[in-house]
Symmetry: C2
Subunit: 378 residues, 2 copies
């Protein structure tokens, strides 16, 4: 099989290097966004050279961001080329569109590396759902935010110090917003929902709160109460309805989630027969992510059939459960929301996700810290 | 697809019940060891009726133990029927024989449920090894022993009390030996090695020590030092050599292993690209184990190809690493083995597995408690 790689950053170059061990998958061309300033092997100047090369039956897309990834994936699928993508930002909104294009052109669109990096998460969702109704997906899905929380907890440093260190180590981007404001996790939860529930959600309906206002004092406050803070994505369905969130959760110090450190991920599914399954591994990193892409290339080579039935079902947002929250705000929270108050920490109890959104809109405090008390980690 | 089920205990009946949801897989006959005293649906008196029924293309074997499972599996494969087995006791010694028979007769021999129950462990070993060299498999592979250690640790009860409770709850057999003396884990490690390394080991060479002599005092001793005791199976390879063990390990209280409670399993692999992957879930239980069997039936229905290349490579036993051990014995350990002594606890350090075997043979104390200090959980 002859392939091309789009993008030659950490992941793209990782795929190129791993494929040197696989003589039956040959990289023929590599394209990067215009004017790369580094030496790229097999570099071709024009994406069209890849598109029109009939030898190339499969394209690996590692460009990041929506454009030009959207145009490249669309063109390749229409041209009858398989596509393997690691790019959650473009898959999350266009999942159904790409899957339909792939079906129409009798090729595969695969994306294991887009969620939880080296963990075979997408593969296992697809496998589990053959014999199970999956009702929930949740977990630690972002290595950068978990690295920051780990160092804040273990080394008692503040957020800014740890973020700077993470940037120096290459674990955080110069603009860390996607990782610490929840966008990255939201994309991964959205993709997981498409696969696990065969369902379409509206990501704007999820309660998504940044983790960037967490302080060392907050971490200590929860530690004293036997909790560790983790930044989790969570989505649950019941029939045609769903709820979901991306926010800081206070988890039991003796939960598995509470003991996942540094940049590692831990992601869980709940199935009707198998109960809770949890998968731990490297959610990012050159070799681990490249491995997920190579696995998808091997799937294509083996002619593995696509499981997805289209169109997706439109799911309706409806809070399925009440949750207890602790909210820290410099502004005063109205009495009717509060169960208890402890310095700046308002403990509200049994609020649904919708009510928390109302409360936050009312508060108008962009730096409020919202923490859900998580007592149901399966 | 029409199938038969051999054995109608927890797992066999679980498969029958789950398959009521799968209209395209029909159970035609069920056979149990002679003279069942309960009402079994679709019961047939004579195994030969199944063997000679040409409608039945696949047989699920949940008989437990070596005989008559060995004869039944052999006969079915020779007759050109696919076999799905949950029976680790017969698979571990006859893995290569069954796989070869299946190849010769162009059918599948699958066994997901035999290791780690509902966790898709075997499936994932097969998937990971397509793109990785796997160097190690280890983890909590036995629910009964983990349940006992959990209750001893959390409720400060002694071994006998907890074993009795586990037997009442159905988590432990009347004769608990397979679970607490390591045979069950040894079988699972042996099967994992066959799959992960394509390798044949001699299970007698592994350092296997019972967990039945552990006391509440031992648990407290390790707890004070920041360790939790877990009963782990572990096998590592390097080239054509291997080492392995089934014994109590003192793991960091903040490791994932240290926070796996009750009857749950957590099993890990180390791959050359993906690093460490860990899988958590129900290692036993009716629905979870039946789910693993149903997944294998779906694999057969989809015509999934068998990955195994035969014959297996004969691996040579050779300690790959030194480990530190703590040994409690009523007998005196010679000075040259000891790094430190603390009441009855002899701390020996950097002993290879072979040396521990020598030491134990020398001691001649069947009730010695051997604990490895595990500082490499990936």
């Amino acid at each position: 099989m002859k392939i091309a790689i789009l993008g030659y950053g950490t992941v793209g170059s990782g795929v190129y290097e791993l494929l040197e061990q696989h003589s039956h998958i040959q990289v023929k061309k590599i394209w990067n966004r215009p004017n790369p300033d580094k030496q790229i092997p097999l570099w071709c100047e024009d994406f069209k050279q890849i598109l029109l090369d009939e030898d190339i039956t499969c394209v690996v897309e590692t460009l990041n961001g929506i454009h030009p990834a959207y145009e490249c994936i669309t063109a390749c699928l229409k041209q009858g080329k398989h596509v393997v993508s690691a790019n959650k930002a473009v898959i999350a909104p266009y999942y159904e569109y790409f899957k339909q294009l792939a079906q129409d052109n009798q090729v595969s669109f695969l994306f294991e590396a887009s969620v939880a990096g080296g963990i075979p998460w997408i593969h296992h969702l697809e496998r589990a759902k053959k014999a199970n109704t999956i009702s929930r997906c949740y977990g630690i899905l972002n290595g950068t935010s978990n690295f920051i929380l780990t160092k804040m907890t273990q080394e008692e440093k503040n957020f800014e110090q740890v973020l700077t260190k993470a940037q120096e180590l290459g674990y955080a981007e110069a603009d860390p917003s996607a990782d610490i404001d929840g966008i990255d996790i939201l994309n991964k939860i959205n993709i997981s929902a498409s696969v696990a529930f065969n369902g379409k959600i509206n990501p704007e309906e999820l309660l998504t709160c940044s983790m960037r206002y967490i302080s060392q004092a907050d971490i200590s406050y929860f530690k004293q109460k036997g909790f560790t803070l983790k930044y989790l994505g969570d989505i649950q369905v019941k029939g045609e309805t769903y709820e979901g969130s991306v926010l800081l959760n206070a988890v039991d110090t003796h939960s598995l989630e509470g003991n996942v450190f540094d940049q590692y991920n831990l992601v869980s599914l709940v199935g009707s027969n198998i109960g809770t399954l949890k998968f731990f591994g490297q959610g990012a990193g050159k070799k681990a992510t490249a491995d997920a892409i190579v696995q998808n290339l091997l799937d294509i080579q083996e002619g593995k059939k696509d499981q997805q039935s289209l169109p997706l079902n439109q799911l309706q947002y409806r809070p399925l459960d009440s949750h207890a929250y602790v909210i820290k705000s410099s502004k005063k929270i109205p009495e009717q929301w509060i169960q208890a108050k402890d310095s700046h920490y308002y403990q509200t109890t049994y609020l649904t996700t919708v009510q928390v959104k109302e409360l936050l809109a009312y508060l108008d405090d962009p730096q409020a810290v919202v923490v859900r008390i998580m007592n149901n980690l399966g």
